[in-house]
Symmetry: D2
Subunit: 314 residues, 4 copies
């Protein structure tokens, strides 16, 4: 952190097991400068995701990174949390008892605005939860647009979803927000389930965390062990996918993912498909490309990058 050439980023998240790893990666990799963290209701209620973000940053020793709570519900619809996947706390599994700092007294959207306008160069937004805060930022404070370098979000899919057959959790939770972001004209990178389902926390990965010999290593191992149990029960996965840190990783090192520039629409009106990201890979719709969509991932490189960051954090 603090490196002159580091990429300035804000992480907007709903921790969440994989959000926790995303935060650790952003703290631990010197190629990023984490300006702030904002939270949103999603995997759990806003109070819980905010508390979880504070805990992870405290455990990572990143108490100087400002945290602010954003929206407690989606833009239009009602909130449905993912307690079946992330547990009652949103971070069930490890012992996360730690003295934490306090969230900033301002709304997450306001913190974003201040950090973006106050930094000397354009800032990258990494969103690993529903896009409510980001959409609200764009609508309420359009003056920030020139100072946002790009938006990288974990969400959606080019094929199947996880919340509905074609809908991924972050986008299904706030489809209108995703639509706003995808139509914003900003450079947008989408990291969907089609790639995140290739980055599985295998037994070997979990053991590597545990073998680090640090409290953080054990916590990561416990997080992934809990995540594995819910993914096995709900989806029949042998090993759980690790979605969110990939969105951070591709800002650190773009070579870990392969993207294509294609049109992406969000289905806002389907009876069964509301919240599906409709990715026109073969250009059949004639629409203009509005996102770089990840279609491939260097899984090994990703894990090396993540492990190194967690080790560096300590």
């Amino acid at each position: 952190m603090g490196d002159v050439a580091a990429v300035p980023v804000i992480i907007d998240c709903d921790p969440g097991h994989d959000d926790a790893l995303a935060l650790l990666l952003a703290v631990g990799d010197p190629r990023l400068r984490l300006l702030g963290v904002t939270t949103v209701a999603g995997n759990q209620t806003l109070a819980k995701t905010t508390s979880n973000a504070l805990k992870i940053l405290a455990l990572a020793g990143a108490i100087d990174v400002p945290v602010a709570a954003g929206c407690d519900r989606p833009l239009v619809g009602e909130l449905t949390v993912a307690g079946d996947i992330h547990g009652e706390s949103g971070l069930d599994g490890p012992d996360l008892d730690v003295p934490v700092g306090e969230a900033a007294g301002v709304h997450g959207v306001e913190l974003m605005r201040r950090l973006i306008l106050g930094y000397g160069e354009p800032v990258t937004l990494i969103a690993t939860g529903p896009l409510t805060n980001v959409a609200l930022l764009l609508r309420r404070h359009p003056e920030v647009l020139p100072y946002v370098r790009r938006v990288v979000f974990m969400g959606g899919s080019t094929d199947r979803g996880n919340t509905t057959p074609y809908g991924e959790f972050n986008i299904v939770t706030d489809p209108e927000a995703a639509d706003i972001v995808l139509r914003s004209g900003l450079p947008v990178t989408m990291i969907g389930l089609n790639v995140t389902h290739q980055a599985l926390a295998t037994t070997q990965i979990i053991e590597e965390f545990r073998g680090m010999g640090t409290r953080l290593g054990v916590i990561c191992a416990d997080l992934m062990t809990f995540f594995a149990s819910t993914y096995r029960r709900v989806f029949g996965f042998e090993h759980p996918p690790v979605h969110d840190p990939i969105a951070v990783a591709c800002v650190i090192d773009p070579s870990i993912i392969v993207t294509v520039a294609v049109p992406v629409a969000v289905e806002l009106v389907g009876a069964y498909t509301k919240g599906a990201t409709v990715v026109d890979l073969h250009g059949r719709s004639g629409a203009v490309a509005n996102a770089d969509v990840a279609v491939g991932i260097e899984v090994e490189a990703f894990w090396r990058l993540l492990m190194a960051a967690v080790r560096r954090v300590g």
Copy 2:
């Protein structure tokens, strides 16, 4: 203005010929205290509706009323202005050349927030344009909710619309915003086309304005004359309806309208009906009432109230 017992209101508008009359009514009736005016894109672009609001307030001598520009586009969809109805300027017709004040340096939503939180008692929001600003206020600053006495909006219909067969302009322009307001839990009063189409600016009404012998009287007459010409051309109306001031009038004197407490939903997904307000007058849906919907109006009393206010303004 300034009367101790006056009802504190903020008007969120998109002037617009009938918005202009709504502002004059709010300025001229001593039973209201107009805390501020916020503007939104709708009948015309935000720059034009803001300029128009400033002009009308200047003509009314209400230069102490703060004005702030809000959202320049709907929450989710794209903006389509109503140039066919309100002309290129949004207030075509009269000579409105007047030195105007400046809009406040803050966003309309921020002005609303400050006025609401800064006033000693709950404030009534009167919206006479698309509900974008109001919805954004509720999502971005939920802390204002206890201090909003109620929302009265001109928009929707219990029967036919004006922009589509079942859609009224303000709601069709931002259906998601209307949905947010109608689901907010706040007391909401809807003044729809079913009543506003009864308040027609007849030749006699226009002559009454013109006969006031004041510049404002002439302006009102010219506004209504232009409005009459577009309503005749587009809808075949003999005399144009005067929508927006009715929302103000019913805050001044609730007895001028008859309302029923019923369930109102906004159609967000129709191919032909997006933006329709679906008012369940006969309780067939089993849904809970979430709005007081105007179903009757004392037309004569309304015009007396409006004329008296315009005369008082001068």
Copy 3:
């Protein structure tokens, strides 16, 4: 009946109190030649609507008119009958005990096809129930199209509905069928609630039926008395509207209704508005007119016509 110049018609219906009057009108007026009657599930199940059609024809002495049962459910969705309006039998109220004939051994759609292709000149279809049979006829037997003079249907509305705020029962029950008929290219006349709600069976009307001194007069009075009771309970109407015979009446004497040629679409995808007939009275959509939509009715002339027919039947 049998008059050389009489207009040949087929009535497709779901009796239903007002369908019963429609059948009596078609039997009793010499200007029509009733070739056959087909039934459809709607107000009640197919078995009940078929039995009811047979009863009414038997009571009218029209035992030579062939009756055939058509579709027992809508084209796409599920059937919801209107027992709350028409009672358990579909014709609750009067004593309808009468020896009835039998329905033809062929499907209603097949009977329509045979009657249309077998008659020497084009035939008028009058539909007073959901349009399932008519739509199926057009899709399954497109060869009949040149021999259908026109389709007149009772259904839809230019303003409010009766089953949902914007949906009328016949169209809401089978929106896809209505869409097929309205896009068929055939001349289509729509008799909607906006006119049928003006033809009310007042106390005076009911007494006129009862005063005829015939069994049929008493039956009509009892039908309307029952209908009045459900319309009062469900919709708060003082007197019940008599929808279906207006569709028959306007074939007998077009001067009893005023129509406009306008574009009509059926909303197939709304969350709250599915089945609404979206009538573009002001040509704002730019679509081509595809129906003659009733917008006015000569109520007195209608009742004279209906009363005369019932008297003639005896």
Copy 4:
């Protein structure tokens, strides 16, 4: 053919290159008894798909198999043919000049009805085009239901589509028909793109056809060569998938596919996803299973089966 134990089938198709192979497989495999062939508008207009079916049957020497033309358009929407994939004729590529028989004088739906009711045991319907005819059969002639053993259709997908990102051609062409079939209560097997995209007509496969030393072998090779060219151009496929014969193959030998019994819905209202088959593989919707959906295929076994049949036909 004619084998006592053979499974009686009707093929409803829209030839189409892969439909042609499906017909050859049904003719050539002794474990099926092909009672009749009905055609539907889809890959090309009804006149062309009917002509194509007649040609393929003539080339196969199956002139005793009755053919009847069914629906020339989808149930509700408009027809869009797939000329970009199957060419102007629907079977572009080979020389198909052959004296053909005539289509039966009855509608395809009527032929289906007669064949089903006239055969001594329940019949299997194999649909390799839009499901218009099958849906119309179920709605117009519900009396056939007890005599339909099951419906096997090629269509839909558990993941991506080919006509829209989530929509496969047959289902997108007539989503309402697919909905009717999937809600019919009949045993339904869905063979979607997720398995058909694994059965690719590689260069080796095409050479095997060509090497048969028969006119039919050359035709099959030419069909696949043309199909390869359009799939390469439109979708970037190296080798084209062979969809339709898999639906036939799995009736011959169920062991060539793996299926799961799951809920399948058809999206009827999406702006971007209309016609998507929404397959709830993980039981998250709580809906009841209504189809056996293919999720795996024994590609080698499939090709052996198809090659043997084509060789047998000659």
